[in-house]
Symmetry: C2
Subunit: 525 residues, 2 copies
Amino acid sequence: MVAMEAVAAVMRWRLLLVLSAAGLGALGVPQPPNILLLLMDDMGWGDLGVYGEPSRETPNLDRMAAEGMLFPNFYTANPLCSPSRAALLTGRLPIRNGFYTTNGQARNAYTPQEVVGGIPDTELLLPELLKKAGYVSKIVGKWHLGHRPQFHPLRHGFDEWFGSPNCHFGPYDNRARPNIPVYRDWEMVGRFYEEFPIDLKTGEANLTQIYLQEALDFIKRQQAAQRPFFLYWAIDATHAPVYASKPFLGTSQRGRYGDAVREIDDSVGKILSLLQDLKITKDTFVFFTSDNGAALISAPKQGGSNGPFLCGKQTTFEGGMREPAIVWWPGHIAAGQVSHQLGNVMDLFTTSLSLAGLELPSDRMIDGLDLLPSMLQGQLVDRPIFYYRGNTLMAVTLGQYKAHFWTWTNSWEEFRQGIDFCPGQNVSGVTTHTQEEHTKLPLVFHLGRDPGERYPLSFASIEYLDVLRRITPVVQQHQEALVPGQPQLNVCNQAVMNWTPPGCEKLGKCLTPPESVPEKCSWPH
Amino acid sequence: MVAMEAVAAVMRWRLLLVLSAAGLGALGVPQPPNILLLLMDDMGWGDLGVYGEPSRETPNLDRMAAEGMLFPNFYTANPLCSPSRAALLTGRLPIRNGFYTTNGQARNAYTPQEVVGGIPDTELLLPELLKKAGYVSKIVGKWHLGHRPQFHPLRHGFDEWFGSPNCHFGPYDNRARPNIPVYRDWEMVGRFYEEFPIDLKTGEANLTQIYLQEALDFIKRQQAAQRPFFLYWAIDATHAPVYASKPFLGTSQRGRYGDAVREIDDSVGKILSLLQDLKITKDTFVFFTSDNGAALISAPKQGGSNGPFLCGKQTTFEGGMREPAIVWWPGHIAAGQVSHQLGNVMDLFTTSLSLAGLELPSDRMIDGLDLLPSMLQGQLVDRPIFYYRGNTLMAVTLGQYKAHFWTWTNSWEEFRQGIDFCPGQNVSGVTTHTQEEHTKLPLVFHLGRDPGERYPLSFASIEYLDVLRRITPVVQQHQEALVPGQPQLNVCNQAVMNWTPPGCEKLGKCLTPPESVPEKCSWPH
């Protein structure tokens, strides 16, 4: 962290220059740039044309990359939605911010409706911190950091919300489980499959269009008010059940999943166009990425592509954790660049604070790196990427090398039931169905030569020994300094589900909760 | 073929317009465009940045694509070098031009030194035909259409040659097998590992630089002479043993294979720059592709990447036969386009004739399609892609659908010895180690939704029945009209190897051939 702090100091100085070149606020003082995070749901590294998707149906995102900078080595902090999102908004690994379970070793956990936990009040979220620099913040789409009142996004720094607290699974009969509510700010305005229909048969839903309008309206309002904004556009059309609006249905060569991608691509194009029309491209930092790898269990009709990488969502192989990532900030970040910096969704926290001219919180460990030196000066900072499942450090990447301390895809029991996180892929001793411990002799891959993690280095090679010599102290230091947060995803209770979200009375949409029975959550993966 | 002929007629008319806009020849008459085919050896679809290779080390090829047109759905005619190259230069499937074996069902065959056969005199090669339009033709690099005197490239239409008749395998002790000769035109000028060293330990060889100079010199000479040229740049640095020259060794994130790719990328950049310096970009049609998929058996150190596709070289899965393909013709083909036309290396034959304003041979079946309508007007023509191994039609693609009539990777016997054409990949019933016949009920994949061939369509689905209804007559028609050529790759003989290539006396490099013993070639794959 010492090196990072030094970089941060340089950056704050440099930022003054940036700010002086940027727009002036309502009071005529320099204003920090707007921050626009476009976060996809289960979209894979290989889903964009610029990342090699053969149908090449993302002209707007490809153009965004051509006009901006592409990060081929960008990661999530966990191969599952909730912990990934909690990491992005706190700049901290899920093991620190509480988005993990201790119910089973190496188990991924998230926030379905029955989870009792959520984002602790002790965590500082990006929008809370950005307030100090005058930002207005909005989340559009999926929150996923807990749905009970104390976890509400407007209690954690966001000023506006349009979207849902949980995934849009369905349909439910509202008896065993309520349909997920859709909120506008503090109150629900309806539920999925009711006021906000998703036709599971045809895949038709208008949600991406609604989310697009929410984004466009917010940007226009903040621009008119001359206030810097943070927009967290966390849409979910590529999470199963995937959906698209009528004009996009059936238009993709890739089927329904591709229809969803095409609508998102079109929407991103419209958002960037608005920034151009408003002449605020120089004042708006835009970053596109995804929360975890493509859900191959839902492929091919409801899941995407992880390109050449191994396995997908839920796993700590590259397919589970490497993400598409593009930054676009014309006038600041030169067009058509590729950065090989190892990046992480947690860096969006740190980078955003840097953009806003704010200090990092000094009372806690922050895992995110400020990416501005990479983006603006092409710097490459040596930093590890940690791959966790729940409370278990599965793997670490340093430079080009990845060491697996544990390997696991899913249990034999599940695998025999047809659940396969690595369909069509099978690397002996690597894509294991028992939890294999390699801590004594980690499996090491060179991700440059072997991005698909197929050929572990020979244990006897000098290269292997060199890698271990460099990786071991990094892991040791990490584990020695680690103070795990209170695990939030251990306890479930049917009674905490979205039976009576705020505003349900006005709409006559309140449901009757069952008796409160807290129990240990079951996390099979 | 009727539809194709109609298109060809339109094209000849359109070509007049193109020609009138193109350069004037020495006599002041309009001159057809130069044709430059850059053919890679074992380079995979996924090896270029523009096709999603994560290290993104091909800035020149990526720029070529940005300034030209990319074909994501471009194929070879066979997943092995010799038949692929014979198909490219004849516009005909190997089953027609003789580049196949009947020694074993579904066996790939090629032209190692001991092969007795080669390109039959009855075949018409592209440079032979281009002569009629005044072209001067040169092959730089690997010929692979037979190494005995009657198969020499200068006997089949090329005016110049610098390169080798066979692969640069080695090293040999010149007793059991001679080292492969390197020719300048009619005579050898040395041998690999002797006058043309390839250091197998360090990977150093200067060959790509030599091949680059050959290309640049030829282009300059033809431009000075104001003669249209056909340059077939068939280099082989990405075929195992891969090599690069000193300035490129160790510069890639991908190891030695990446070093070779980087040197090739740099060379392509220099070739395109020369065209720009000579101001002949508008007069020079440039096409980049590869002969077959990446050789995954040589990966990760000596083999490339097939991106998201299944298996590699030797197989009739997408990884074996889908190729990187870029066309670049500034002023004619608009920049930054993607064509989803199903293309094939055989189309380069037909398209080149079209560019030269020449008729297709009318006395034989030509499989190549004229791609100019796709390139110039964005047309999409419905056409099948046939996937052969030897004499067996393994699969066919029509539109988005691929039907496998036979599946096979390699034999159990070989597989148990560690030979694996699909390392890390295993699709049950698809990546088979026995030859599986599916002719009664083909395995069908939707390549848009499922480019990795992991999810066969359900036999009971309407979609499956629809596909079969469309594909069956196409295959029937193909098979009924098929007149196989005389198989060239059945007979081997140690005595025909490169013991005494022409010119060996002058150099004192003649070797003593063994007794002539013709035998049946063994083709294990």
